[in-house]
Symmetry: C3
Subunit: 666 residues, 3 copies
């Protein structure tokens, strides 16, 4: 793509009155240059089996093209029509709660042959019809696809077949999964019990991994269909989303983003986040990093993010701009609001778009106009930002599943993401720009610092590569429970933390829970907050490592809590509990002493956030983002041209307005 | 009826020992002059299909008649016998949780033909048998009837048929309900999906309204059956109940009281309420107002209220009397306890009657004896109290459904009733006696002040009539979210608050959530408590209205929070959030400045409550009710005879004992 | 048995690597002299229907025997194989939540004929195979058996049959259960509705009692099978467990321990308990007392208790020893950890054994070695401890069911056990060793003090025996709600507390709820804590009794809260609410003034715990247990030999280390 795209999802189908001409005029006024359409509109497109209605699609394509607005076509499959559910009742997904009733979106069985047959048909019909329209710049397959906790008969049968493939014989599976326990052993494949009811973590996690593989396969199948129709210059993407806690919170448990993105030409993501006083940019950062990671550092699209959104999200003045440029700063080249107008009926009535229900201009829309104008003007300078970090966080869906299977007392959230966010957010606040990777390649020389939060389930191979990374000169910060079990969630019967005890120089075989437990240390500077021990307490015994902190406890005080170990040419720190963000910052600082990191964007911390990369002209572009309601002076801004104001920065301080942005290229 | 009735529900069927003679002696001693029987006793009346046993009914009718105690016959249909459930398993209601199992009462499908057939039979059998008994003064059909969340096949089919009637064609429905969203469009009536699983608020609320219509129809059908048997002097009623939060909290969501009461000759209600330190009379007030409203101001029956009730309800000395006269003060002419004795087995063992399980006199019974005596003595003076208010609160089941469909974050209760109660209770505490109405007639000249809480879904017509009410000289206090959507729960695409922006002179198109937000005002006198903004914050922009308060907020401070607008000969206030009771009182005072209200019973506030009307002799009767544990002096008591003591009041202060009552006629 | 047994559960089947030889060496090192095997291993024993594999059992039996370690064989039935669930799907238990899916243990229908057929077969096959092996000292049938909330068709049918047996005719049942209420009457046995859905407490409790009877019957059936094979010197037992709140909390609601133990030669129990700072020994005390009670004072086995257990249970140094000797102090003669090693897969991965997943020695194992050595050395002195108490607590599954059916507002736990524990723990902290009995024999002369907490449902007979106990000179402390209903959960229609009003000299017919209510008393010494009234408030009217305390309440202040009554040669106290532990202690002290109790082990209170009995040599053995982290001096230790140190105690103070133990015989 040759420019920054600024867009909205647009639903002509949902309009209570004729709006197309007015809407396009207002879009042009706001610099909107792309719309996503058709996604979720199967029932208008195919009102009855085999009857098609292209009314909305045709008129929007034509009108947008005439206005110079590009169009992304979404395949309409993630919400099925009522007639399809009635005619083929088995299409409705069966979850552990039973078969779902028609009503919501995303309640179909994505491995059901009838569903796949009808989905293929409507995709082919739609794409045949639109494929030559000049407005189209690309396609999105389905939307926020997941496996919907599918445990229907089809899914179970495929899973059992996959187990038969994975294991040479059934006894290998019994052994790998430890099925002898509680008489769960299976000696005949046809006796395979319902995987959704298993209490065996190994089997449960294998099923969960298989469910994700079905998502990968389903999306690849849709992408292959699209590939039959799309032109070489058109992209195909999927709009991935994240673990949802009322907003995008962390790694998606129900999709393997990295595997599923392979079939796409570009990665797209949903990023929704707290706003108003709670706007911090954290979600924009990790969401962007995962999106970049999916396609090996390539730029990505933010296919959905909030304009007004919920009542608690309506942006303060300046925040919509801050958000928009933050996305670009992390590598996005398309930013699209969900959605243009606010919906007058049904379910998401209070998930508001750029316009309210009255279609009149409002403060959010007015601010969007400045963004559109800046995007258009600065597009040549801001496009194709290349971001290369020498810091990475290693995440892993398998580790998440397994860790969450065994949560300590009192934890009800997705614990893996709690931990992931703690480590991510510490780097974020320190202005260290990190890649997020789901595997550590043997040739990982690009990275100088590796963060490993709770890598609970991992193969010997991966653990060996982490050891090798450290031995070869890398520095690693390794969190509690890492290395504990193998890729089949069998706890290792050697010393813990599994094979990682080599690089960490530490071992343990007991662990307890903290109760208001604190650390004591002669080597770290701890206060009441940073010395708090949360969630877990491994009773570490150094085997060569230096003790950085111990537990302040009458009984467990003899054990180490954090250790540091020189291994080969590198160094590994191990932490036996969930540390506070402030402690992680200090550990990272210690671990990287004397080590220049290109990923460190500033020595000034949050609420200043600095991000950037190199543009196509080879210029170093730096975004200075003020995540606070106060004016903020940047102390180490780079020299160059401030693009938004067009002024040159040479020595004078860079002052950011509340929630303000500056972009310096030089 | 020619006298006040004081009664109990009486279950000869439930007695563990022979009690009839003793019970009647104790009843006579307490002035009990009516009992309700037969309700919920189908299985004793028809122990097997087609076999009938009138033992309990006959002996109670005869014994009561002999003792001069009147009898109300309840049709026994709200609890079905086990044999009926076994023979016709489809009679058990299907709810969103699945088909219910036999056990509880109120778990039948009230549109099921088998149920209706057997219900009709037992009603006819019972009424044929008793119809000429001289003890009977009237009939109650069923009990606390609701739709029981019925979404069974019969219900669904009837609902679809009703949609076919309501809409000229299916596309009109798709348009009105916005079904294009998320592919929910229906192009063939036979594709209609399960309404209970819909995520479309318009469709969901239409279904909920239809479920209520089925209750109306069912009760009318029972009343028509009764009408075939009852004598002209006998009444037919239904015992309506309210939203339940451990006690009667607010408007009933599952019945349209106003529609269902049409088939009855008199309205009856259940009123259960907090007691002891928490006794305030609020529930007696709103429950009475709704009961009066059902039959256009006619007197009503309190068919059930607590004697001892739960352990947390056992009345303090004086409270039982206070409650009894409070009911009369609001217009009740029959007051009946649930129930005479306390039940020795099963479910409601701890929902105690006037007597405990030991059938011995107890303090509650002893106090009842004084009530019975006073009722008998004062009946001629207190009967037929006419109550005409010039203040009304407009409520609406449709607005409730729609508002509750879209609750803000963190709200788990029936939000509509939370709001309704806030406004009602403010009037109550100010001793303003309000009617509760479910529609505003075009000719609403009777009312001077109209309160409109959260009228979220309303037709153009109704909103137009509110505008006309104000234009014609009325004063209206209009709460947030009013006017927002039409009667099909389609958000209006014009300016908000819908058509009401005319009378309110204000508009908005953004709203946020408060976080410890306060008001600031130059026109109101606010303290920390009364300036609290709860639940919602509309960002109001006056269009002619005067700003009464703004939000004290760094960003939203420019917007109005409360406005006042002269419109025609009247005046409308609009409030963009949920106000505290103390603020509502102040707004009402301001809005009615210089406006004499006949509904204002006293300038003295709660814990003094004053209510009353005009008796058949044309005398002004005033009840002075002390809802406190302290002695209380009434400052503006009317002159006349204090009926309980028989003394004349001429100038001297009226002093009420703790939880005390006085009644002045003059 | 002729020695103390110190054991572990051992699962060769679950091992990820060959361990047998190493494990046995480590066991011998730790003094382990018994292992329990085979329990829960059906799928390895019978991998396909009719195919058997004795590999693990044979090699473990042989190796253990060779090492001199005894073996307990568990029948493997409490966890069924996948093939059995697939072939006979009706075997999966149906609960109120529906039929369960295969996965967990303890999800079979224990009255299903197919299950019983296959269970009998595998038991016979296993026992035929092993019965002559010299390593075997006894058998455990099934494990932690319960009824699993079984409400399947078989269970229902048997229940109805049992009702037909219990009642001469159906009308008697209708009368006893009060089924006329809400039309629940049943006039034909075939109309019997689903008992799990009933709202009738009498019927519901009868069903619950019947479900427990099915457990009794099932265990007796297994024991009878075992009896066909076992040798006279071998025992048969069941491993009973307790109400579970993350640990053993109280009386088991789903099994009648006293009835089910009849078929066993010895009683075994699971005792799991809080640890670390929360270790108090309470669960060891009540669990032991119930276990002793099951077989009339006979010694018992602790078949499962924690070694490391959960992270929150890893014992502090000294605690494992303290726990072990505490079990002996209450009469246990076998102590077995669940389990030897920590499991590498599946569900209980974090319920750790004596060894961690790495099989290496760890501090817990190291401490176990000292226990094993002491057990072996002191076995002759500590075996066969006879414990005879003159204090008893009367509990009752029927009272529990009925009380819990009617919980006051705000209570969500098993209220009966909350109350039971309050009374039990008060005695425990006062070092009064109590028996726990489920019935009071007519000849109860052994007891001087009887505690009756919440005996809500009880026959005339039992209440009469309590009266007689007091009349004959006993002292009784009787808690609120006792005597309220009969054995069919029909509330008594005479004076409350039922027939007990005779011995208590008090009556009431009203009750309310406390709100921060306190007591006032001229006879007791109360502080803010001990005068707290919880859960319930009966408004007591003395009929001969002396008032010990009243409620400090403006309205209910006239009523008594605690009374004391001389009756015959004895004395009864009645308490109308849930008292604090500190108050119970004071009441017990008052009630036993001048009454020497052999069960009072010390005047020194918790954290010192003293228990003991008489050994086979006729010596008085006293265990001094320090449940605190501080050194503790025992003020009234008996003279004699301190067995652990081998020193003589003659006058010098006995000082216990933190979490320390001493055993004095003399």
């Amino acid at each position: 793509m040759n420019k920054l795209y600024y867009g909205v999802a647009y639903y002509d189908e949902y309009m209570p009155v004729e709006r197309l001409e007015n809407d396009i005029a207002m879009m042009l006024d706001a610099g909107i240059n792309v719309v996503r359409i058709a996604e979720s509109t199967w029932s208008t497109l195919e009102p009855a089996e085999g009857q098609y209605n292209f009314h909305h699609i045709d008129r929007v394509l034509d009108a947008m093209h005439q206005a110079g607005i590009a169009v992304i076509i979404g395949t309409p499959t993630y919400a099925i029509p009522a007639w399809l559910a009635r005619k083929y009742p088995e299409i409705m997904v069966t979850t552990p709660e039973g078969q779902q009733k028609y009503g919501r979106r995303q309640i179909m069985d994505i491995v059901n042959p009838d569903f796949l047959h009808h989905a293929e048909n409507i995709i082919r019909v739609l794409l045949s019809h639109v494929k030559d329209h000049p407005a189209i710049i690309g396609y999105q397959v389905d939307n926020e696809t997941k496996h919907y906790d599918n445990c229907g008969p089809e899914m179970k049968q495929k899973f059992v077949a996959s187990m038969q493939e994975q294991f040479a014989n059934i006894d290998e599976m019994n052994q790998a999964f430890g099925l002898n326990y509680w008489s769960n052993r299976i000696d005949d494949w046809q006796d395979f019990p319902p995987p959704e009811a298993t209490i065996n973590a190994s089997l449960g996690c294998a099923f969960s991994r298989f469910q994700r593989q079905c998502v990968t396969q389903y999306l690849a199948w849709q992408a292959a269909l699209v590939n039959e129709y799309r032109k070489p210059h058109q992209f195909v993407t999927q709009n991935f989303d994240f673990e949802w806690r009322g907003y995008s919170f962390g790694v998606q448990p129900r999709v393997d983003h990295f595997a599923a993105a392979r079939a796409m030409t570009v990665a797209s993501v949903d990023i929704y986040h707290p706003s108003q006083e709670k706007l911090t940019g954290r979600e924009i950062a990790f969401g962007g990093a995962i999106a970049r990671g999916m396609k090996h550092g390539q730029n990505y699209y933010v296919m959905e993010t909030q304009a007004q959104g919920f009542a608690q999200w309506v942006p303060f003045p300046g925040q919509l701009r801050l958000q928009a440029f933050s996305h670009l700063a992390h590598g996005a080249t398309l930013l699209s609001y969900w959605h243009w107008h606010s919906i007058h009926n049904s379910f998401e009535t209070y998930w508001k778009g750029l316009l309210s229900h009255d279609f009149a201009p409002n403060p959010t829309y007015t601010e969007a106009k400045t963004i559109g104008a800046d995007f258009a003007r600065l597009s040549p300078r801001l496009m194709d930002l290349k971001i290369e970090n020498d810091v990475a966080i290693l995440i892993n869906n398998e580790a998440m599943d397994a860790l969450n299977w065994f949560k300590p007392e009192g934890v009800s959230t997705n614990l893996y993401n709690d931990i992931f966010r703690q480590f991510h957010d510490a780097l974020y606040e320190e202005n260290i720009s990190a890649d997020i990777i789901s595997d550590l390649p043997a040739d990982s020389g690009r990275y100088k610092l590796l963060i490993v939060p709770a890598l609970y389930a991992a193969s010997d191979d991966l653990l060996g590569r982490i050891n090798a990374f450290v031995e070869g000169g890398g520095r690693a910060l390794i969190g509690f429970k890492s290395g504990f079990s193998d890729e089949n969630v069998q706890v290792r019967h050697g010393a813990q933390p599994g094979i990682l005890h080599e690089c960490c120089g530490v071992t343990y075989n007991q662990f307890v829970l903290p109760h208001d437990t604190q650390l004591i240390s002669e080597r770290l500077e701890l206060d009441a907050q940073s010395s708090r021990v949360s969630i877990w307490m491994e009773l570490l015994k150094p085997q060569g490592a230096q003790v950085l902190a111990r537990y302040d406890h009458p009984v467990w005080g003899e054990y180490a809590a954090i250790t540091e170990h020189d291994f080969g040419r590198g160094k590994a720190m191990y932490i036996g509990f969930l540390p506070e963000i402030s402690l992680i910052k200090q550990l990272v600082a210690r671990l990287t002493t004397g080590l220049p990191l290109s990923a460190r964007m500033s020595r000034q911390p949050f609420p200043l956030i600095v991000r950037g990369g190199v543009n196509s002209a080879g210029q170093r572009v730096r975004y200075y983002l003020n995540y606070s309601e106060n004016e903020l002076t940047v102390e180490d801004a780079q020299q160059g041209e401030e693009l938004l104001s067009g002024t040159s920065l040479h020595g004078q301080p860079l002052v950011l307005a509340p929630w303000g942005v500056a972009i310096v290229a030089g």
